[in-house]
């Protein structure tokens, strides 16, 4: 019950501090391995941005844009993860990445058995962009999600 109040109270008495400062911006990258304890050699950026959007496509996205909102949710989870570790947020990101592999949005190598993701942050310091690797996940099997048969 206490946990529920902790979640609800900031919604009932919100602080509207939109973009009060521009903090580190997370990027999630995914890698694949054949062994659960191995480290990926290659990391792929997920959900690359389109070069440009047509006016019609922007209008459709105004009405219905589930993929983008999922991307923003992954971003929220990533921000939680580099603040402090949370099994829940790690699972949430992994679930979405596995689903993207299953749908073919992310292409896994033929031999891949496990997925691992990492979070790097981009931050501007004195007008210079720097990056840091702040989190690496455990390995997630591709089997139970039907990604591999």
């Amino acid at each position: 019950m206490f946990k529920l109040f902790r979640l609800i109270l900031p919604i009932l008495f919100p602080s509207w501090r939109f973009f009060s400062w521009i903090g580190p911006s997370p990027r999630v990258e995914v890698g694949f391995v054949t062994d659960a304890n191995a480290s990926p050699t290659d990391w792929l950026s997920i959900f690359p941005q389109p070069e440009k959007l047509s006016f019609a496509s922007s209008l459709v996205r105004l009405l219905h844009n589930p993929q983008w909102n999922e991307r923003l949710y992954i971003n929220t989870c990533a921000e939680h993860l580099f603040e402090s570790h949370s099994e829940f947020h790690e699972q949430q990101i992994a679930q979405r990445l596995l689903s993207a592999v299953k749908s073919g949005e992310i292409i896994a190598p033929e031999a891949a058995q496990y997925l691992i993701f990492r979070i790097r942050t981009l931050v501007s310091e004195h007008e210079k962009l720097t990056e840091n690797f702040v989190f690496i996940s455990r390995s997630f099997s591709l089997l139970p999600y039907g990604v591999k048969k």
Binding site: I8, I11, W16, W21, K52, L62, N65, N69, L72, S99
Partner: protein, 229 residues
Amino acid sequence: MTLEFAVRLAEIILGFAILQQSLEFVRGFQPEKTLGLIRALLAILLILGAQPLLVETALIITSVILITRFHGPYNGGSDTMTVLVLGGLWLSHLAPSRYWQEIALGYLAIQLMLSYFQSGWVKVVNADWRSGVALRQVFAFTVYPVSNQVRLLADRPRLLLYMSWVVIIFELLFPLALLHQTALIVALFIAGLFHLANALLFGLNRFFWIWPAAYPIIIWFQTRLMDVF
């Protein structure tokens, strides 16, 4: 605008906003997929004005389930505003007297006003916002720009400096619009354009639909304030 008309209009806009959010969930994972379907049906009932107290009670219960499911809001401020509008309208039906109805809806109107004013305040006290650097950073490296073409706006510092100040001044001056109904309607129209720009540039589409749901309430609130003073 009368309180009853403002509530009805707000419920119709809220219904559309919840329908929009719910249809996005239908393509997602369980349990939000099922919750999305349930909420879509409830949103249609809300638009039609059928049993608003019961429908809003069910929407509040499903909102709490979603908040628990995601350990907080799924879509940040847009979920917060959805719950505030829903809560304000629900309390207005539940209130034992006109006085408590006005308290509930007044709280919603004040939160709407603060959503602009406080956002402006946190920007104006930040040197990076005042110099246009913060907005340049938003375009340059945050996840929000919807395309590489939009990201290129980071290379136009003068334009971003003007844009920063237009946003800051508008947000800070928003409470003054409560002094006159025409000023308020103009301010709400500009605010709608601001949310449209955020949706087109940063993909914040849910904000564009949910914020106007509170607009009828603040228009009623302004009329009520003029009666008092």
